[in-house]
């Protein structure tokens, strides 16, 4: 991460966390403490997406655009 060259790898990790949280949120509809905290965590994950994933998705890493 020192020279920010591995944004793709960081993005992979963000997407994995997001996927796990989405599963938790949908699997636990009758378990508010689980589903609502998962939903709240997803809002924070969105900030990681805005900071990192968008750069990768829009192909704007050092090799892109």
């Amino acid at each position: 991460m020192e020279n920010f060259s591995n944004l793709n790898g960081v993005n992979d990790k963000i997407l994995k966390i997001k996927q796990l949280l989405l599963e938790l949120e949908t699997e636990a509809k009758r378990f508010p403490a689980l589903s609502r905290n998962a939903k709240r965590a997803l809002a924070s994950i969105k900030m990681l997406e805005l900071n990192i994933s968008d750069i990768v998705t829009f192909d704007l890493t050092d090799g892109g655009a």
Partner: protein, 442 residues
């Protein structure tokens, strides 16, 4: 060599401008598509203009998208779902926070936010606070009334996110707040310029406490342009012995610009989260070059509950010609927000900005912080009355000529000046109302 520790997001904040433009365009398309498919208001607006998101194929096409005026947002609120109306893009149960505008320019506008939007608010503020040197070791005192106005709420949450310790100075009175800052050795503070000066005045003149001897070393301002007006910034910095930084934001937009530690007398636009266009006030032409003033049209690129797309903010700004030496590629607006298109009014045929009068009054040591400007008519002729306070032991004679000359020099206008004893003009706790144009009543 660039010091990456200076940036909240070192990749976005130093992204070459060309790439940043691509980034903004792709995000613009995304939020436009979201609004078109989720908000009746936006769909009708774009359908009426004969446009769909697919018609926006290049950055230049963005200006085809109709602007949204504040008055339109007021009308929307009369429609379902209550109380927000049909610009709402999410089910009501997804809305987690209510805020409203202060109503300075008319009926307040209600602002719904989801929890994701609220995270986004504090993310925008995190760019600001990190750039201004807030770090986990800071103890941040926030002396504002936590209520329906967004003010420093997101600053509070952002400071927490950064790892700072936050002290909410909610319903305490001014003296109690000063005592709390002293008791806790708070290192940073957020307030309007009016209140920063008011607190210093109360500390010094009512409590015998010298604010510059307190532990505050940085102050973030909002709500008024004062922290970008050199003489007001100097007064605040001298009074508190602290660095004073400006930032600009609005309830229906978000926190969109900030001054960095270089204090270049300008603010960086957060171009990763917002798209700022400057439009010629008379012709509507988009101004790309530096040095030409216009009004801001702004898009919040990631706000989902009630999108802000090409919002006509009426803030008057201009691009700076020079990049900032901090290394950020986010462009600077010169001198911050210069005024509002509806405040900058013609008097005797000359454009008058209240900020220009503030710059003159606050640059004269013999005058107090407070002043009032009243524009009215004497017969058919416009008249500007300026009320100022003389500091104790200062005579009218010692400041009068200099004040008149400076006003004439900076504003090209003559004034009827009234002098008052120190402490006799109204004091304000949040935003001040120092400019009154009474000509509309004639």
């Amino acid at each position: 060599m660039m010091n990456y520790q200076e940036y909240w997001n070192p990749v976005l904040e130093t992204m070459p401008l060309e790439k940043l433009k691509v980034f903004q365009f792709k995000k613009f398309k995304r939020i436009l598509n979201w609004a078109y498919t989720h908000s009746k208001f936006h769909k009708a607006l774009y359908d009426t203009a004969g446009l769909t998101p697919d018609d926006i194929r290049s950055f230049d096409d963005i200006k085809k998208i109709p602007k949204v005026e504040k008055s339109m947002m007021r009308e929307i609120q009369n429609k379902d779902p209550f109380p927000y109306g049909d610009a709402l893009c999410v089910p009501l149960e997804e809305v987690s926070t209510f805020r409203q505008t202060s109503g300075t320019t008319g009926q307040p506008v209600y602002q719904p936010d989801t929890w994701q939007d609220w995270e986004w608010w504090s993310e925008c503020w995190s760019f600001i606070l990190w750039a201004q040197g807030y770090r986990p070791k800071d103890r941040v005192f926030i002396p504002f009334g936590y209520n329906i106005f967004v003010a420093f709420w997101a600053g509070h949450y952002a400071a927490e996110k950064l790892g700072c310790e936050v002290v909410p100075g909610g319903v305490l009175d001014t003296q109690s707040r000063i005592l709390k800052i002293k008791e806790l050795n708070a290192t940073a503070m957020m307030a309007t310029p009016t209140y920063v000066l008011r607190m210093a005045d109360v500390a010094k003149n009512k409590m015998g406490i010298e604010p510059s001897e307190l532990s505050i070393n940085k102050i973030t301002c909002a709500g008024e342009p004062g922290a970008s007006i050199p003489s007001t910034k100097k007064r605040m910095e001298d009074a508190w012995g602290a660095k004073v930084y400006d930032h600009s934001g609005a309830t229906e937009i978000g926190a969109w610009s900030y001054e960095c530690r270089n204090q270049r007398c300008g603010m960086h636009v957060n171009e990763a989260m917002f798209l700022v266009e400057i439009e010629d006030i008379d012709t509507g032409e988009i101004i790309e070059e530096a040095g030409r003033k216009g009004k801001m049209v702004i898009t919040a690129l990631d706000r989902v509950a009630q999108p802000c797309i090409r919002f006509d903010s009426k803030d008057v700004i201009e691009w700076d010609s020079e990049p900032c030496s901090c290394g950020r590629t986010f462009r600077l607006i010169k001198g911050g927000v210069i005024g509002r298109a509806d405040d900058i009014t013609k008097v005797k045929g000359v454009l008058l900005s209240p900020a220009a009068i503030e710059e003159v009054v606050r640059s004269i040591n013999g005058l107090g912080d407070e002043f009032e400007v009243i524009v009215d008519k004497q017969g058919d002729v416009d008249r500007i009355k300026l009320k100022v306070e003389l500091m104790p032991d200062v005579t009218k004679l010692s400041v009068e000529n200099f004040l008149k000359d400076q006003l004439r020099l900076k504003t090209n206008l003559g004034y009827l000046i009234e002098y008052y004893d120190y402490g006799s003009l109204p004091r304000y706790e949040v935003k001040a109302k120092r400019f009154k144009d009474l000509r509309k009543k004639f």
